[in-house]
C-alpha cells in the first residue's frame, strides 16, 4: 500500500539523543514536529561506550531515570607503564558521572519528545533531500519499501556519525582520517573492573585513542577501544589492539564476552557550517563530539535544545533561512566551540606523544595537588616536574 506524503513544520531525522532533544524543544516552543527513525527500535542496537558526565542534564531538562546504570566516583587514567592518576569529584566537579543503559536513555528522551507533542515514526529512512530554489524543503523517505515525501520548512539532520543528510544538502561534514577513531567494545562478565571507576588506558595500546573500562555492575563492564583511523596499519586493527590489550590483562583475559559494539567517532575540530536554507545539523552528524574524550551525548543534547528552539522560532517567523539559523550557529558555538577547538588541538598533540612521555605526564600528575581539572592545570603540573615535556604545549599555557 503506498504511503501518503506528509507535511510538518519541523522534520527531525534520527531519534538519537540530539534528535529527540531537538524535537522536544521545537514542540515545546509551539511547532508541529515529526521525528523519523530508520530503525524499528529507538536506542537499539547500542553503539556507545555508555559513559557520560552528569553536570549538564538538568540544564537541558533531562531527569534522572532508570537509564542510570552505575554512578561512578571517579576516573582512573593509566599511563603505558600503568602509573595511575585518579580523577574524582574533587577536581572534576560534576564532570564525573554515570555509566548508562544507552538504549533506555534514548528511549526516555524519545518518550519525553513524544509527550511534548512530537510525532514519532519508526522504520522510516530519509533517502534524499528535496530542494526548491536552492532551499531544503524536506526529504524523500522510504517506509516498508515504499517511497514518499515529507515536506517541512525546517529539516533537522540528526542522523548520527554516518550522517548523509547534511552532505546531501551541500553542507560539508566530511572528516579526515586523523579526525576519526574506529571503535570496538565488548561487554564482558567475570572481569576485575571496579564499579567506583571508569578506567582509561593511554598510549600505544590504542594509537590515537584509548582503551576504556566502564563498569556496568559487579564484575561486568564495557571494555572498549578507539584507534585513530590514520594510525590503522592493517584491517581490523581496532579488534586486534583490543584483543591484545585484553590478553595482556589477566583480570580481563579471564572474562567472557557477551556483547559486541562497534562504531565511528569523530574527533575533529568544530565544523564551520551547521546550517543552510531550510536545514540545521545537530549532534554527532554536526561533528560535535568532544575530540579529546570522544563523548558526544552532552554536546548533542545541549545543541539540540538550542536547535529545537530556533527551529520553532523560524517556523513562527516564516524565515527558515540560513541567515535566521545563525541564531543556532551562534547559540551552540557559545557553549561548545571554544572547548571543542581547544580539545581538538590538545588531541592533535597527544596523539604524537611517546609512551615514555605519557608515563612522565601521569607521574607528574600523581605528585601534583591538582585542584581543578583543566588542560591548563595539567600542563602546569607537568611543567613543574618535566619542563621539557611541556615545551611543545606552550601555546596552551
Amino acid at each position: 500500500m503506498p504511503v501518503p506524503d506528509m507535511k510538518t513544520d519541523v522534520l527531525v531525522i534520527g531519534a538519537g539523543p540530539a534528535g529527540s532533544m531537538t524535537a522536544k524543544w521545537a514542540a515545546k516552543s509551539g511547532a508541529k514536529v515529526l521525528m523519523i527513525e530508520k530503525r524499528q527500535e529507538i536506542g537499539s542496537p547500542v553503539r556507545c561506550g555508555e559513559g557520560m558526565s552528569k553536570s549538564w542534564l538538568a540544564d537541558v531538562g533531562i531527569k534522572p531515570g532508570r537509564w542510570i546504570n552505575v554512578e561512578v566516583e571517579g576516573a582512573r587514567i593509566y599511563s603505558p607503564n600503568e602509573t595511575v592518576f585518579e580523577i574524582n569529584e574533587k577536581h572534576a566537579g560534576n564532570e564525573v558521572g554515570y555509566v548508562v543503559e544507552r538504549d533506555e536513555f534514548d528511549k526516555q528522551l524519545a518518550i519525553d519528545a513524544a509527550n511534548a507533542g512530537v510525532d514519532v515514526v519508526l522504520k522510516t529512512a530519509a533517502t534524499s533531500i528535496l530542494k526548491e530554489n536552492g532551499k531544503v524543503v524536506g526529504v524523500k523517505a522510504k517506509r516498508f519499501g515504499e517511497s514518499f515525501e515529507i515536506r517541512a520548512p525546517v529539516t533537522i539532520a540528526a542522523d548520527g556519525f554516518e550522517s548523509q543528510v547534511g552532505r546531501w544538502a551541500g553542507i560539508p561534514t566530511n572528516i579526515a582520517m586523523r579526525d576519526m577513531d574506529t571503535c570496538l567494545q565488548y561487554r564482558m562478565t567475570n572481569v576485575d573492573s571496579d564499579v567506583r571507576y571508569c578506567d582509561f588506558y593511554l598510549g600505544k595500546v590504542a594509537p590515537g585513542g584509548y582503551v576504556w573500562i566502564f563498569p556496568k555492575g559487579e564484575g561486568l563492564a564495557n571494555v572498549g577501544i578507539g584507534v585513530q583511523v590514520s594510525q590503522v596499519k592493517a584491517m581490523a586493527d581496532a579488534r586486534t589492539f583490543l584483543d591484545r590489550w585484553i590478553d595482556h590483562h589477566p583480570g580481563y583475559a579471564k572474562g567472557k564476552k557477551i556483547d559486541m559494539v562497534g562504531g565511528g567517532v569523530s574527533i575533529s575540530a568544530p565544523l564551520k557550517q551547521t546550517a543552510g536554507d531550510g536545514i540545521m545539523i545537530v549532534g554527532d552528524a554536526a561533528r560535535m563530539i568532544d575530540p579529546l574524550t570522544g563523548g558526544g551525548i552532552a554536546n548533542g543534547c545541549i545543541a539540540g535544545k538550542i536547535c529545537g528552539t530556533v527551529a520553532a522560532e523560524a517556523v513562527h517567523a516564516g524565515t527558515p533561512t540560513k541567515e535566521y539559523f545563525q541564531k543556532y550557529e551562534k547559540g551552540w558555538r557559545a557553549f561548545l566551540e571554544e572547548k571543542l577547538y581547544r580539545n581538538w588541538l590538545a588531541k592533535e598533540k597527544l596523539v604524537q606523544l611517546s609512551d615514555e612521555t605519557f608515563d612522565k605526564v601521569i607521574e607528574a600528575l600523581q605528585d601534583f595537588k591538582l585542584e581543578k581539572l583543566s588542560v591548563h592545570n595539567i600542563l602546569k603540573a607537568v611543567h613543574e616536574k618535566y619542563p621539557e615535556v611541556t615545551k611543545e604545549f606552550e601555546a596552551f599555557l
Binding site: 582520517m177 584491517m235 565511528g264
Partner: protein, 63 residues
C-alpha cells in the same frame, strides 16, 4: 578510472556489525547502510581504501 580494484563489503553478518563507521568516513558519501545491508556506489567509489581502515572488524576487503 579503468580496472578498478575489487572492493567487497562483507555485510551478511559474518564480520560486519552494521556500525556505520565506513558510511561516515567515506569522503564521497557513496556507502549506504540500510539496517542489515551495506552497499556502495560502484561508479562513484575511487577505491581510496579509507573505509577499509575505518572498519573496526575488518569487514571490507580490497584487492
Amino acid at each position: 578510472m579503468p580496472n578498478k580494484k575489487h572492493l567487497h563489503i562483507e555485510s551478511s553478518g559474518q564480520l560486519c556489525i552494521y556500525c556505520g563507521a565506513c558510511v561516515g568516513i567515506c569522503p564521497l558519501n557513496c556507502i549506504y547502510l540500510d539496517e542489515t545491508r551495506i552497499t556502495f556506489d560502484e561508479k562513484v567509489c575511487t577505491r581510496c581504501e579509507i573505509c577499509v581502515k575505518a572498519c573496526p572488524v575488518g569487514a571490507i576487503e580490497i584487492g
